[in-house]
Amino acid sequence: MFVLSKADVPRFLAHLAGRYELYGPVLHPESGDTFFDRAADPSAVRLDAPIPTNTPKFTVFPHFERILSYKYDQTTKDVRIIPEELVRPKALVGLRSCDLKGLLCFDRFFLGQEFVDEFYRAHRRKMFLVANTCATPFPQCFCVCTDSGPYAAEGYDVNLTDLGDAYLFETGSDAGRAAAGELGLPAAGPEASRRRDAVVDRSIALFEPRAVENKAWISRAVNRLTTGFVKNETWEYIGQQCFECGACSFVCPSCSCFNIEDVNRVNGTTDRIRTWDSCSFEGYARMAGEHNPRRPVEDRRNKRFFCKLSYSQSKKYLRPGCVGCGRCVRVCPGDIGMANVVTAIRREITGK
């Protein structure tokens, strides 16, 4: 453990900017929104900013990208398949614990299982991750219920906690330790962990009562979702309020469903484009011919929450799919973000 003084933060960011493309929370002057964005100028990064509106997952899983292209000449029958150079060194700073957990879910999902997703791996290489302990939760946050914050226990190169006068600079990897060495940071004193723990405890105490109150219910919801005991009427009630916009999947740090389309360009090459997709849509699972295994909207709601919270998905990620960031609560036009769904399932159990 080391100490990074507040005055030294620009030096740290400049150090990263010299080796990586720097991404972090950036304040948007017009709207006052915070975005997780590329910071061409390191001083634009605001480590004290609120949770970014957008999800950092785009750094490893872009919204819209070309993964390869090809050119097929109809006359000569010549085929050229052109892979895309996707590796770009990136440093992500100011990562909230929930968003970091989302990245770790992605790692286990895209890099594990039967195959490695090579496009994800290319994006993910040469990444330096700097987490930021959340000192102030926001109204829709509930990471305490999903074991994903406000303090990141693993998965980072560096973890910063604001102790008031300086940052506690914890290293979690060789790269992190190397950075501490290159910056010549002083070691943290013996009271540092205690002070850090106090920051975390203070943060937890600030969560909305509902987040803490829901803690017991998320596990019950997980249980019922896994075993399929949630009544169809509940899914119909939830489904009726679904606007089928896909927003929940798009903002979720652990949602990784995608679509692939081949697009012919006017210059004769074809781009294979990969974009975000969502199981919210009626056409998502529909097959050629007519068979659509999840036509009714309630079936799709059922599927999504099963995917987020069931044990089987947890086995893939080694943790529940939901990281408690609360973004789905903010973006849902139908007000059926995770919190309200858990409430609806809870009502089934308790009647209130």
């Binding site: 993964i67 390869l68 090809y70 097929y72 109809q74 029958k77 085929v79 398949i81 892979p83 999902f109 895209f110 299982q113 039967e114 195959f115 490695v116 997703d117 090579e118 496009f119 994800y120 399929g228 990784s256 469903c257 995608f258 679509n259 692939i260 389309e261 081949d262 012919n264 074809t270 997709d277 199981c279 998502y284 699972a285 529909r286 097959m287 050629a288 011919g289 068979h291 295994p293 999840r294 079936d299 599927k303 099963f306 995917c307 069931s310 089987s312 998905q313």
Partner: protein, 280 residues
């Protein structure tokens, strides 16, 4: 099920050239192909029951079951024209190129079923994914007990592989029954739905595995009949189809409950299908 990764091309398609095209039934054509890369042409190995992702350059990619047997068979795909990408395939000619990724999926568990009777029950184009396994089993005839094919289609025009079936009929040790839904002039085979053949063929239920592939109505009727005769759920095998994009377990379009058809399947026992948590 065996799910070892034997994919030769995972993310980038490899080019293959169409060497011959054969008309099958309406809207279905067979495309014989060989890989451009001679090394791949030599080494590309598959298991029955697997599938590939086939790129039609300029149109897109689609999932297609492998109908060719791992040994002694020409590589080919039999594809029905149903949408944008498959209709682009149907516009191709001999000499045109396609792209292949794979093979993917788990495949039929041949090692685990040595010595058993094999019952193949198929409806319509459902015989295509089973073809690989049938040819493979016939090549290793002595490894199995009775081998029975029960095949049906709506009409004679919709029966796949009629020349091949004629050859199969003549083989000793391969019991073949072919039926069409309603009688037609010139048809001398069985008449009636395919599940009615189960009784006619006196299908055994001990030391037996049944492979079933066809439209949902047929599937349910066949399963019902086999189960009623006492065949256990884990001895009934099917191959499930789903909308697929990546083929390698990442895009999740093929998810059914807790399983991904492209990596956990596409071959499942009926026992597994019943617990998937969603209707197929």
């Amino acid at each position: 099920m065996d799910i070892s990764r034997n994919a030769a091309a995972v993310s980038l398609p490899v080019p293959a050239v169409i060497t011959e095209i054969q008309e099958e039934i309406a809207d279905v054509r067979t495309y014989f192909f060989r890989f451009e890369d001679p090394e791949l042409e030599r080494t590309f190995a598959v298991r029955s029951g697997q599938f590939v992702m086939c790129t039609i350059f300029g149109a897109g990619e689609f999932a297609v079951s492998l109908p060719w047997s791992p040994e002694g068979d020409r590589r080919h795909l039999s594809v029905r024209n149903v949408g944008k990408v498959t209709s682009a395939l149907h516009a191709l000619e001999v000499g045109d190129k396609i792209g292949i990724r794979g093979p993917f999926g788990n495949g039929f568990p041949f090692d685990a079923i040595k010595g058993r009777n094999l019952i193949y029950v198929a409806g319509g184009i459902g015989l295509i994914p089973l073809r690989s396994s049938i040819v493979h089993a016939l090549l290793h005839r002595s490894d199995f007990g009775r081998i029975i094919l029960l095949y049906g289609a709506k009409s004679a025009r919709e029966l796949m592989y009629r020349p091949l079936i004629e050859e199969w009929r003549k083989r000793e040790g391969f019991e073949t029954y072919v039926t069409i839904d309603r009688s037609e002039p010139g048809w001398n085979g069985e008449v009636g739905f395919v599940h009615t053949l189960i009784e006619k063929a006196k299908v055994p239920v001990t030391d037996t595995v049944a492979f079933v592939c066809g439209p949902p109505i047929m599937f349910n009727a066949v399963i019902g009949e086999l189960s009623a005769r006492g065949l256990k759920d884990d001895c009934i095998i099917s191959t499930l189809e789903r909308h697929m994009k990546c083929g390698i377990g990442k895009c999740q379009h093929c998810a059914i409950g807790r399983t991904l058809v492209c990596t956990d399947g596409p071959v499942y026992t009926f026992k597994q299908i019943k617990t998937l948590g969603e209707t197929i």
